[in-house]
Amino acid sequence: MAQQAEVPLQSLYEAHKKIYPREIGGRFTRLRMLSVVVLLGIYYIMPLVQWDGRQAILFDLPARKFYLFGLTLWPQDFIYLAALLILAGLSLFFFTALIGRVWCGYACPQTVWTEAYLWMERKIEGKRGSRMKLDKAPMSGAKFRTKLLKHTVWIAFSLWTGFTFVAYFTPIRELGNNLVTLSLGPWETFWILFYGFATYGNAGFMREQVCKYMCPYARFQSAMFDADTLIVAYHPERGEPRGSRRRGVEPQSVGLGDCIDCNVCVQVCPTGIDIRDGLQYECIACSACIDACDEIMDKMNYPRGLVRYTTENSAEGKKQHIVRPRILVYATILLTLCGLLLTNLAQRIPLDLDVIRDRNSLYRETRDGLIENVYTLKILNMDDQSHRYELRAEGIDGLRLQLDEPDIRVAAGSVAELVARIQADELNLEDRSVEVRFYLQALDANHLSVVEEARFVGPGRL
């Protein structure tokens, strides 16, 4: 670590200039705000939604169950969660190839929370100009009060965010009760503060730097791009040479293009780039510059679309393809996996049987001269109803199955353990160790049946 001290200290990743995105209206901005409200709404309201008398989405850690509306997933079903994540990743590939970085511009939590924090900042500190002036001004009573108010509101919102996050793991009623009675557990408090602090830092301060320096997707999304991917682009042939002019002046008459070089597209950009420099990896395709430029074009009475959604091919006047091999390949993989996941989920049997052979003794001989093996059976009833079961065993001629408790009942969503003994005549054992199979069948539901294999150990042929 001693070497690190020599490294010159600097701001986060580069000499970082704070970005003050200018407020903007327009159709894409409205769409983005709608997306922000809907997504944040889902996040904050979901823990309050009840389903079948319990929270609709809940990672119940003590019970080791994951409730997802009508579905209850057990640790054994982790594969479904993994498959769901792979599906999410693949859909990101598919949509990136088709419509570019819409995820970044409209749906990424980083964008969504940044927009929310920016909105609070605007409400308190005012428009872009006032915010810049306020930051430049020396500290005063008024500045201190404004900043204090902003951070208080931000921190309150962050804590609410952290509280909601923990409510996905501890039922929100219990958590709310604990909060009101000041009896939150140490770890609940820790995670509320941790998640709240992360939100405060990422959405309040780091903002576009997270996209530029910490996001892996921003680095590799270009691999999914081709000449037919939807991008936000400036039309240089139409815009150049740029230059200012009075309103109502025909561009050709002064030897200029349509761009009036007003810089509004740069001022609205949340990542602080100039879209006129071409496609850049910093661009999160939020399309704020499209709305900004359209507004200016309207004022100048020029046609809209100097900055617009387009594709490389259509910008160059070439033919545009929506269906292309890349899209077909991504779509095929996506649909296949989706189909597999859904069929598997539909055919999932909410019953599991674990057989553990008693490790203390290989076998013992009963008074009637039979060889006996002892097993511990774990029955997992993952259904939301209790069931009675019948247990059979096969694999050795004339084997006998003995249970301590022949009436097997397992309550909904619980595990029952029982001891089973298999006895067999030594003459019927073909080898030292033979395979036996346990068949478990629910008495009141035909489809609930499982088979589990185990070994039966004997003295072996002499």
């Binding site: 070497q3 690190q4 490294v7 010159p8 200290l9 600097q10 701001s11 986060l12 990743y13 850690l61 003590p62 080791r64 640790p75 054994q76 982790f78 969660l81 793991f169 501890t170 557990g185 140490p186 770890w187 609940e188 820790f190 995670w191 320096y213 910490m214």
Partner: protein
């Protein structure tokens, strides 16, 4: 090579903490779906620990391990660059 030397301390912190955080989430997910923390406490130890505490400590331990790994990578990457720079001035 020059870029390696000018990595700021903050940048080093983030490049160690952030990927290890993401990997710790994956590791905890896989590990705890296979093992119930209640089964991991030895019988002869009388530890009363809430599930949330057990999962949290597990996650933080995974994070610590991943931090060590990330930090090792960063350390060798930087020091190797310095060595190469010294040999080829």
């Amino acid at each position: 090579m020059e870029e390696m030397k000018s990595i700021s301390l903050t940048q080093q912190f983030i490049s160690v903490l952030w990927p290890s955080f993401a990997m710790a989430i994956v590791a905890s997910g896989v590990f705890f779906s296979a093992f119930d923390p209640r089964d991991l406490i030895p019988y002869n130890l009388d530890i009363d620990i809430s599930p949330l505490a057990a999962y949290s400590i597990g996650f933080l331990l995974f994070w610590l391990l991943c931090i060590l790994s990330s930090w090792g990578t960063l350390y060798f990457a930087i020091s190797n660059c310095r060595l190469t720079a010294r040999h080829n001035p």
